[in-house]
Amino acid sequence: MSCTIINKERTGVINPILNCQPCGAQYAGIGIKDCIPLVHGGQGCSMFVRLLFAQHFKENFEIASSSLHEEAAVFGGLKRVEEGIEVLARRYPDLRVIPIITCCSTEIIGDDIEGSARKAARRLKELFPDREIFLAPVHAPSFKGSHVTGYNECIASLVKTIARKGEPNGKLNVFTGWVNPGDVSALKGYLKEMDVQALVIPDIESLDSPILPDKSITTYGSTTVEDLADTANSVGSLCLSRYEGATAATFLESKFKVPAVVTSTPIGIKNTDAMLQNISRMTGKPIPESLVRERGLAIDSLADLAHMFFAGKKVAIFGNPDLAIALAQFCHEVELEPALLLLGDDNSRYAKDPRIVELQETLECEMEVVCNADLWDLEDRIRNKGMKYDLIMGHSKGRYIAIDANVPMVRVGFPTFDRAGLYRHPIIGYKGAAMLGDQIANTLFAHMEYTRDREWILNTW
């Protein structure tokens, strides 16, 4: 059948799919321990992102602002960055990393944050001779890329700033891409099962943090400065995402000769197979039988759903490109039809993404891929162009389309604020595939009941 790849026809945006670069950079920054990102821009550029993270994770994260005001916007804001760094260092004695994240305003006025970082580093050396605080400049002009590129940029800057050549550590670097705490738990489970020592960058499992009897607050990522430094000494880097973290992996390859494998997000059976085989290849560790069983469990449960409930259902998918493309691959595995794929920024590489190319070759249904898309591309198709979708998969910002058009929707990706606890539930790996299959099926089932659409089929399922 056919697969068309087009760009959004309109110039402006109605209901964006992705946020701007500083948001992604902040998402990466909160994954590091003893790290407070300093956003160099207006206060909204960090305040709203903190709110967005709180909506998604139901947690508060420490992110600072240089509080760029009018005077700084006119005469340059470097003094505010330098002051911000010093204030942070003074008031947070455990602080070890500050990503300095620019925004549209500070890129337009042309603040030299590298220069500022050097100057601030000298000052910190004087003030705190016993501390080493890494200052990682992250250029994140909001008028380029999207939160996806911002995330990639921040991970890259952290690695470039902190990675140091030392003794080989026998570990595997694993760049997770933009995932959830539940995904990282699952990933660490696989690494443990394969007896692989890994540096997970960033390890955000702990962003889902507890209320403890002693009232201590542990809402921060678990990747340490030592972990980042040690990435230069690993046996290899496995980047589980093509657009979120790959720059760091390839940097480690060119600078420290750490071989990089950049691959697909392990969503679905095939992508998980590829991840495990890559891990095995890179570390020499075999894939244990337990994972053969877990794989079998996933296929077993998906087989209950695929032909009977999923086959032929048209799905509209939107979100981060790595996620959205992998979801389309997963749909293909379970006989859902990925009819519409909305990729929300203007990256020109998506059309040549090997996964898209493969889908083009293997899909039996029609698939439309819209690059630089917004959510109006979906709403307009449903509302005005007579397109019918049986399921929408994407994050919560698309909720009103589903509600108004009465199309069942599976919340997946970032942000998912209108369903409880999704950050905790993995969608990666075999188990994630099974759980995603369950979630899709249960969403369709509830919809069948509410719309009285052959709800009696479920009588005997």
């Binding site: 402006g12 760029l68 002009p141 909001s142 910002k397």
Partner: protein
């Protein structure tokens, strides 16, 4: 006690000017926190930007208006799905975010063409919408785009549309407050007086500074209808663009949020001699007092007394039930500014709750004059508080419940303290009589939750 330098602020001594603990016999001529001044970089302040003060707080509430944001995508993305103000226009204002999606080439070559196309596309996509606000942002203000010129050309080409431009980039001012100001004054200058409302009652008001949070406007509207008062404009809860063009015809401006919308009330007083009556719409005694003043203004005191009697009969028993259970509880208010002074006595008089700490993100000294005049001795009053100050103050005053935003709420949760959404409410509305019972109920449900007792228990301690 004078101004206080908290332990956590020893490295930023300027903060002493922003933290006050009230002692017996003191008034605001002796001590008044500095406010509406720049934030110290890197302090983890709670403030947002002025763009959001204009778009998210005021403009974005309008139920029939396209809110096109001229700038990179984030400003639109971030001010969408963050508020709880419904409307009777199928929540149009909650569903959409429009942006010109500015990219690098527009920064270099100018974004006006992009803006114009985006305007046309938005009107084409939503042909039933004929009204638009355009907002500039940091990026488009810095490159010097002229959105007014663009808006003029579009209005010439499409005579049935009307566009209002808000020039308020995020870096303007020091907080959201600047955005309120810019939007108020620009609307006054450009739009008030351009449309004539149909007058259907001898009693007309504008209700200013209520944003229909969880239906506040709907609730108050019941009162106005019972009293036969016509609200010419709600600024801006559940309002239309055109409705706000007729503000000049009201006989009285009733102001709730004096911080975000006092400006337009002041200007209406200055230019049209419309009196400004400030009231508190939260709390039983306050609401009753406000209604009585409105009744006195129009000479409809009897109707007002009847309404108050009816409302008290309906809701006072529930309020008293909660008061019995909440008396002596300690509350902190960490919100924008005005709710500090709206609530501090209201919860004490109506519910017996003691407000022990208050922090304002964007209040001015005027707000601190009000809150210190009304607030308790011994309470902590903070301007533009930061995260470390919150921890220290919590330790100091040990509140049972904190009214604040969801993000800070997630933070205090870890300290075993429940929060109530002080901006968007838990299950509102909170205004008016029925609303204040909702507030009491939510507060009661939060403090009585068994989870807080469980949170403090260490399971390892086996008896």
């Amino acid at each position: 006690m004078p101004m206080v330098l908290l332990e956590c602020d020893k490295d930023i001594p300027e903060r002493e000017q922003h933290v006050y603990i009230k002692a017996t016999g003191e008034d605001t001529t002796m001590f008044l926190p500095a406010s509406n001044v720049p934030t110290i970089p890197g302090t983890l302040s709670e403030r947002g930007c002025s763009f959001c003060g204009a778009k998210l707080v005021i403009g974005g509430v309008l139920k029939d208006t396209i809110q096109l944001i001229h700038g990179p995508i984030g400003c639109a993305y971030d001010t969408w799905h963050t508020k709880r103000y419904p409307s009777d226009n199928d929540n149009f204002q909650l569903k959409y975010a429009w942006s010109s999606g500015m990219k690098e080439q527009h920064v270099i070559f100018g974004g006006e063409k992009q803006l114009k196309k985006s305007i046309q596309e938005a009107f084409d996509a939503m042909p039933e919408s004929k009204r638009m606000f355009i907002y500039t942002t940091c990026a488009t203000a810095l490159i010097g785009d002229d959105p007014r010129a663009v808006a003029r050309t579009v209005m010439e080409e499409r005579p049935d549309v009307d566009i209002f431009v808000v020039e308020c980039p995020g870096f303007a001012g020091v907080s959201q407050s600047k955005g309120h100001h810019v939007l108020n004054i620009a609307w006054m200058n450009e739009k008030v007086g351009t449309k004539e409302p149909e007058i259907v009652s001898p009693y007309t008001i504008n209700f200013i500074g209520d944003y229909n949070i969880q239906g506040d406007t709907y609730l108050l509207q019941e009162y106005w209808e019972k009293l036969g008062i016509q609200v010419i404009s709600h600024f801006t809860g559940n309002a239309t663009y055109d409705e706000l063009c007729g503000m000049h015809r009201a006989q009285l401006n009733v102001v709730n949020c004096a911080r975000s919308a006092g400006y337009i009330a002041n200007e209406l007083k200055k230019r049209y001699a419309i009196p400004r009556l400030d009231i508190d719409a939260w709390g039983f005694s306050y609401m009753a007092a406000g209604l009585r003043k409105i009744g006195a203004f129009f000479g409809i005191e009897d109707k007002v007394e009847e309404l108050i009697e009816e409302e008290y009969a309906k809701h006072k028993p529930a309020l008293d039930w909660y008061k019995e259970r909440l008396t002596g509880k300690k509350m902190a208010i960490w919100t924008g500014g005005p709710r500090l002074w709206h609530w501090t006595r209201a919860v004490e008089e109506d519910l017996g709750v003691e407000v022990v700490a208050m922090s304002s993100k964007f209040g001015h000294q005027e707000d601190f004059e009000k809150v210190i005049a009304r607030g308790r001795v011994g309470a902590v009053y903070i301007d533009d508080a930061n995260e470390k100050e919150f921890f220290e103050v919590v330790d100091m005053v040990k509140p049972d419940v904190i009214f604040t935003g969801p993000r800070v709420g997630e933070l205090v949760k870890k300290l075993h303290i429940p929060y109530i959404n002080g901006h968007a409410y838990h299950n509102g509305p909170y205004m008016g009589f029925a609303g204040f019972v909702n507030l009491a109920r939510d507060m009661y449900n939060a403090v009585k939750s068994p989870l807080w007792g469980l949170a403090g228990k260490d399971v390892r301690e086996v008896a």
